[in-house]
Symmetry: C2
DNA sequence: CTGAAAGCGCTTACAG
DNA sequence: CTGAAAGCGCTTACAG
């Protein structure tokens, strides 16, 4: 690989001039500019970004922590939008993919990103992970913004109003006439001290009508939705509606109800959360809650880049509103 | 952020010694080692990997190009396994996420990874992208290994025998008694000069029984599976089985057949490809072809790392065998 | 507009 | 086992 010295020799200029041409900012005469570019082309020169980063004291890259399982379409879309927003701002993105689900792996992967001197960090992760990160964050670390987690951590963040989403979709079921409605949880949700999760919206909607909430544990995956709903229906066969914590769990629940011969929505209504594309093509299509992923990605990148450089890290909190999407999986309860 | 100089001053040793301690290879006396570590801990020092990379002439990171839509569980799993294999070998992974689907974005993103001086590149991409990369690859570029594409490119690669998979699953349908079987394609597949894709396995199986192949265009997504199968059944209502190019398309097709009141598998048999988890929980669960993703990831990382450093880039080709997974979406054709 | 020098934070020989 | 010097490939003031 040719270096800046090779180009300088070939074009008969100093390395400072070659540098000026490739940075594009400092003034260079048209003639030398041409000469340098020609030399670079002939040699196949490409600036070494790592050397540039060392000299400049910044990398022009932001780190993006993603969950281990990136097949979750919410995070997949988030990553995609983040990548394009960053590119628009002339930043590279360095993706961090924890090798497994443990908090330690998460922290190690963020550390690896920081050792590579990213200018900022976007944390697409659960609030427990973000909290663990915040707790061990060394002073002088690059700015970080959490995206998509509950706003329970003292870190700049952009999140959706999950509680409101949970309220919206539960209320949709209650308005249809359902009274025996269970909530299928994801881990860490019930019992958290901060009433901002999806399940708290469910609880608020139930409480408002004087109904008894029923929280049923799960982990928010296809498999968990399937096995947990089999158990749930065995114990509470009189339920007429299920609010799943996300679309994956709802899709697993859909399969369980199919096997149990409890047609959706004729016998049981079912809702998801996240408005994932798989829920559009399931049979029946899922009623869900849409999170404005593109907007969240864009605002997160903007916020992070505004924090880069300026130390005044005011803990900004941006909360966006989710939206109910009614499809085929919900209907009035059948008369008994 | 403290630098190696700060630690050296604090521990009253030379920077060379601090460097030795943190590299862990060169001999250092236990006493100075302790002193250096204590100083580093006190200051919160973390080695600057970017400076190290510049000095060493290598980054100890491999770049991994992923498709724009990483929600495809095949690539998601691949990425996950690659990340853990790389970490086991003490390599970081730098993920490249093209901001959109164009070949230009793909090439720009690989270039960005190369400018950041990754030691090797894993290309999880279609063979047309890999071919475009190979065509413009400068001499002296880091070694690259393609994974998961058709073995039609002159690049070291690890791929599945897709033709065999297509043959396997088509033959499964033919053995059940089906005779009017269509193949739902993904772009770039029909008409390629290299008969190694899934659709060629289908063609071979059909030919072997003297049956007329029917290739139907599509793009291999949920949406395309849905809309294209509506069109297909309108024109060829007598089909008794459909071979989809992948599980996503099959899931879209499943929804279309549901709307058309053509129950699967009672009226029409349907197969997927990739053995994605969504196909396990669909109703009916999909008969599919399983690709050994973990093995592919591991062999790809191994191959790439063996290529790093040694210039003898022999175009190695590793082809792994897929496996038929029979579930609920296939059955004998109903008697007419 | 252009060049010579110093420096970014490390590692690599080379001495001792 | 340890240190002083040079160098990795760039950029940043400083002169001219």
């Amino acid at each position: 690989m040719p270096s800046i010295y090779d180009v300088a020799r070939e074009a008969r200029v100093s390395i400072a001039t070659v540098s000026r041409v490739f940075r594009g900012t400092a003034p260079v005469s048209a003639a030398t500019r041409e000469r340098v570019l020609a030399a670079a082309r002939a040699l196949g020169y490409r600036p070494n970004r790592i050397a540039r980063a060392l000299a400049e004291g910044r990398t022009r890259a932001i780190g993006v922590m993603l969950p281990t399982d990136i097949s979750n379409p919410f995070y997949a879309q988030l990553a995609q939008h983040v990548a394009s927003c960053a590119r628009t701002a002339s930043y590279d993105v360095a993706v961090g993919l924890p090798p497994d689900d443990s908090v330690e792996s998460f922290l190690e992967t963020t550390a690896a990103l920081e050792e590579r001197q990213v200018d900022g960090l976007l944390l697409c992760a659960s609030c427990s992970r973000v909290a663990a990160y915040a707790a061990r964050r060394p002073q002088g670390a690059c700015p970080a913004v959490a995206v998509g987690c509950l706003p329970t951590v003292d870190v700049p963040l952009v999140s959706a109003d999950e509680e409101y989403g949970g309220y919206l979709i539960t209320n949709h079921l209650l308005a249809l006439g359902h009274r025996r409605v269970a909530f299928l949880c994801a881990p860490g949700q019930p019992g958290t001290a901060h009433p901002q999760g999806r399940e708290h919206g469910y609880i608020r909607a139930m409480d408002a009508r004087g109904l008894e909430p029923l929280l049923w544990h799960g982990v928010g995956t296809l498999e968990s939705g399937y096995t947990r709903v089999r158990d749930l229906m065995a114990e509470h066969g009189d339920l007429t509606a299920l609010v799943a914590v996300n679309d994956a769990a709802a899709l697993g629940a859909l399969r369980a109800l199919y096997e149990l011969k409890r047609p959706v929505p004729a016998h049981v209504s079912l809702t998801g959360f996240d408005n994932v594309v798989q829920g559009v093509y399931s049979a029946p299509a899922l009623t869900s809650v849409d999170l404005p992923v593109a907007e969240m990605a864009e605002r997160a990148v903007r916020l992070l880049l505004s924090l880069v450089g300026c130390d005044g890290t005011v803990p900004t909190r941006i909360i966006v509103r989710p939206r109910l999407v009614v499809r085929e999986s919900t209907a009035p309860p059948r008369p008994h």
